[in-house]
Structures are given as C-alpha cells and as structure tokens.
Amino acid sequence: MNRQRFAEYALVLATLVEALVFAGVAPGFLSVANILNIAMSVAITGILAVGMTAVIVSGGIDLSVGSVVALTGVSAAIAAAHGVPAPLVLLVALGIGLATGAVSGALVAWARVPSFVATLAMLTAARGLAFIVSDGRSIGGLPSWFAVLGRSVVLGVPGPVILMAAVMLLGALVLTQTAFGRHIYAVGGNPVASWLAGIRVRRVTFAIYALNGVLAGLAGLTLASRLGAGVPNAGNQYELDVIAAVVVGGTSLTGGRGTIAGTLWGTLFIGVLTNGLNLANVDPYVQKIALGVVIVAAAVADQLSRRWGEAAA
C-alpha cells in the first residue's frame, strides 16, 4: 500500500513539474482560465476513466466506451429534437449506456467471452448503430436546455468539470467504502479465491460493465451537450485516451490494483501534456510520440514497483 502511495505522490510531482515547464515555455499556460480549460478538456475522459478504472481493476478491459459515447449522444440528441422532456432524455442516454454495458457484461461474465473480444465487438456494433439511428448525420437544432449540462458555468467552474469531480468522488467512495468495491479488487486480484470466499464473481463482473456503460452514457450526453449536437463520429478512439489515463495513473492492467486518485492524476497529467504542447505550438505528430513515451514510462514504472514489492515481501 505504501508503495502505491509513493507512486501516486511521484505522479503528482511529475504533473506539477510538467506544469512548471509549460508555464515557462507556453504563453498563457499558468492562468486560472487555462487551468479551467484543462479541466474542461479532460472532463469527458475523466468521467469515462472512473468506470474504466473499475473494469481494469477487475482484470478486464472495455474498448467500447468511445462508440457508446457516440451512440448515447446521438440517441439523446434525437430524443431531444423530437421534443422529449429533459429528464427522459437523461434516461435515454443512461439507459442505452446501461444496455450496451449489460450486453458486454453478460458476454464476459456468463458466456465467458474475453473482455477484449466482447467489448471490441461492442465497439464496432455501437458505432454502426450510432450511424444507423442518425442516418450518418449530426443531429442539431436542439432545444436550449440541451446545452445546460455541457455549457453551464457554476461559480466560475464549467458544468462538465463539476460532473467529473462528482463522478470521481462517487467512484472513489464505491471502490473503497463498499463491499461491492472491495469485491472488484478481490475479483481482479484472484477470481478463484474470491469465488471460494463466497463472492458472486459473475454478478460482480456483470455489474462493473453495466455501470461502466451508464457512465459512458453520461459522458455521451455531456459531450453532445457541449457540442450542441449528437455527432455519430464523435468519441472515436476515446477508449485509448481513457485507458492511457488509467494506466498512467498506476492501475495495473493485470487487475487487482488501482485507485481513483491515481486515475485523476493520470487524467490530469495527460491533459496538461496535450494542452501545454498545443499552447507551445508543438507539431501534432511529435505530440503523439510524447504521449506514447509517457504511457511506456508509466507501464515500466508499474513493473518496477511490482518487482520491488515482490522482493520486499
């Protein structure tokens, strides 16, 4: 546990150093406006990263979140454009997210399809559905209330940032303070031992994917609200951004280890990196390489800390 704490502090330190460097080279980096801008730019990734943390801690992966963001965003926009009232539109987005997550979860838990395969199938199917329901076009012309979630500002803080903070807080509470949360760690650490200890492994697994789908629906609605339209090709490759944030945040892809706090800092670290490089006008291709280096560095750090942990034990 101490080592994990240490890794988290190292990441916080790295983020601060990174911020200091950019403050020196990029105009306008260190301002309240830009800090809010960074928080805003990572809000969608951050919401998705909470669910992804739980999935990865349980020893799985969910590749479908980007497509589900598009599908739920488009569906919500269609409902809103047809005069469906706001609370029902929220239900549409969360409900469709839940449905996609439940399908993936059932495939993983009961049909024993590897999560990589089940959610890869959902990635293409949900994307296809998004194009079918929208006829391949963006759905605009929405009522003004649709913009509330994505564009409102409360006490100077943008709505999506508040939403991300709330989801992260809730996620951290569920993972650390509830039996369900502890079961997720147990299942990811050792599913057989968990089953022998009386944990309903399949039910837990199913619930993780279903809840992750709900969060993807929330993210899809927020993104559509921010964009002012449901866009069928939105959210493309978000799963990669999200997995990168979770992995950089110290969650182990082999399961059993990871925290929401780590994920928050992983999300921020990547957000600061992208924003700073953009502000410093760094070539977009070089930015991609920089992100790759960061992901590899995080994975190596994870391996090293594990080896030290085993040596100490």
Binding site: G28, F131, G136, L227, V231, N233, A234, N275, N278, N281
Partner: protein, 310 residues
C-alpha cells in the same frame, strides 16, 4: 486467409472463362465506384451526382465505399476487375497507397478515373475535383475583408489529407498578400467535431485576441463554433469549408461562423460520368478537371436555402 485467396482465385478463373467480348458488346456499360466513405454529406451528394448522370446515360453503377481503409478499397477494385466493369471511379483512401490497385486496373485495360482525391502512381485517365487551392484562397480573401486586413488568425487543420493540404496552402498563399495579418497557430483538429473543439479550446486559450479561424471542413468549423460560444468570443470570425446544411444554418443565424467555401459535390459526380462518357466515345479528355468552388456567406446562404436542394 488461404481459403479466401483460393476463393478469389476460383472467382477470377470463372471470370476468365466468360467470353471475352462480354464487356465490350454489352448494351449497358458498367462502372465500378469506390468512394472514400458514406459518412460525410459531401460523399453522399457526390454519389447522388454520379447516380443521377449515370441514370441519364443508361450506365449501371456498382457503388462501394472504402471506409478510409486502403486494404478494403484495394479489394473492392479487385472485385470490380473480376466483375468485368468498363470503367472504375475511385476516391482514394490514400493518395500514394492506391497506386498498385490502379496499376492492376491498367494491366486489365480498364480505364480509371479519380474523383475528389487524386492518386499518385498508375495511369489515371482524368481527375475530377474541386479546386481546393482556389478554395483556400477564397477563404483567405473573405477573412481578410471581414477582419479589416489586420490581426492574428489561426488554422484548425487535418494535415493527413491531400485535399486539406491544398486548402491550407491556398489559404496561406491568400493571407500572405496581407502584411497586417499573421497566422499565429495551426493545430490538428483531426477533421471531426469533438477533436476540433478541443483544439479550438487550446488555441483560444493561447491566443485570446485571435481575430479569425480558418476551419478546413464543416465538422471542424462547428467544433470551433461550439468552443467560441463557450469562450464568449463574440467578435471572432470563423470561415469553414464544405457548406453542409448544419453549417449553412449556423451562418444564416448570425453566429461566429461567417462564411463557408462551398464545393459542388453533385457537380463533381455529374462531370465524372460525363468525362467517362466522353472517354467511352473515344474522345480525348483533359487529365485534370477542376470543378469551381465559391464562397457562401449569410446572404448567399439564405438564397441557397430558398432554392430546393439539388
């Protein structure tokens, strides 16, 4: 994989067994079309133009889409050759990568035409596309007038595509004529709305006094518009590209999106089939046919909305 290869070979053998004169003596000519995608409104209109003109000429069209996937597009062209089409229209997913497929068609004596996106390598009878460099220049001229000939401007680009590179170079060329205007930022928005939104967020952050933005397509322009609205940049001028219905609506409504460069995808479709017809008739056709572009602002957009869509 070997099984699929065997199947393909078997099909090819079957096709070879067919009498050779099948294609030349057939009453109706068949044209194989491999689009870049059907996800963009632009390509839907281009397809409509192709179908429209082909119906008039009595040609049969086989339309497929490469979906931005070079391998898929190559196999589509292979299929066309097996099906014995009389001509192929391709909107390459990759300017250079498509060359081997075109060379294969050349070897089979099937004439190849490119629409919208050019190919490098292989023998293409004619390339029919918008004049994107001219489009970029038009955008620069409109922008310069709108901001009074001076100020800092930015570009949200997608430098992976030749047509976009042409737009950007035309734009830079046009802006170079105005010593008071400086291009201070160029960020990759990947051509899709959510990525362009993030790129615009960062651009407006780094350059809060930005006077104008050139967005290389309408998804990019609408992403930049969302960002400008949340940043309350009411004086900003955005110039987009493509004149898709949603963008035209934003222009008419008096948002920061002031104008669009309009391509004529339906016209590209028409001209492509006309060029193929001329080639079938044994006439010489020019290697490049540039379909004109024009600028659409609030006034012309209203006029456009008043006339029924073509």
């Amino acid at each position: 994989m070997p099984r699929r290869l065997a199947l393909l070979l078997a099909l090819a053998a079957l096709a070879a067994c067919k009498p050779k004169d099948a294609s030349s003596d057939r009453a109706t000519k068949t044209i194989g079309v491999s689009l870049l995608t059907r996800e963009h409104d632009f390509y839907r209109q281009l397809e409509a133009g192709l179908r429209d003109e082909a119906a008039k000429k009595g040609y049969k069209l086989i339309v497929t889409t490469g979906d931005f996937d070079l391998a898929k597009q190559q196999s589509e062209i292979d299929n066309f050759l097996v099906q014995g089409v009389d001509a192929i229209v391709v909107c390459p997913t990759d300017t250079k990568g498509i060359a081997p497929a075109i060379e294969k068609a050349n070897a089979a004596n099937v004439p190849v035409f490119t629409a919208d996106i050019a190919a490098q390598g292989g023998k293409v009878v004619s390339h029919i596309a918008s004049d994107n460099v001219a489009g970029g220049r038009l955008a620069a001229e409109y922008m310069a007038k709108a901001i009074g000939g001076k100020g800092d401007v930015g570009i949200i680009s997608q430098p992976e595509l030749q047509s976009v590179i042409d737009r950007e170079s035309g734009f830079r060329e046009g802006i170079a004529k105005y010593p008071g205007i400086h291009i201070v930022a160029a960020i990759n928005g990947a051509g899709v709305r959510d990525r362009a939104l993030r790129a615009a967020d960062d651009m407006f952050q780094a350059h809060p006094k930005l006077a104008a933005v050139f967005a290389i397509n309408d998804e990019t322009a609408l992403g930049a518009l969302s960002s400008a609205q949340t940043h309350r940049l009411n004086e900003l001028v955005i110039v987009g590209y493509d004149a898709a219905p949603e963008a035209l609506k934003a222009i008419v409504q008096g948002t920061q999106l002031k104008a669009d460069v309009a391509q004529q995808p339906t016209e590209i479709g028409h001209r492509t089939i006309e060029t193929i017809a001329a080639h079938f008739a044994g006439r010489q056709v020019p290697p490049v046919i540039a379909v004109p572009v024009r600028i659409v602002d609030a006034d012309s957009a209203r006029a456009l909305a008043a006339t029924p869509a073509h």
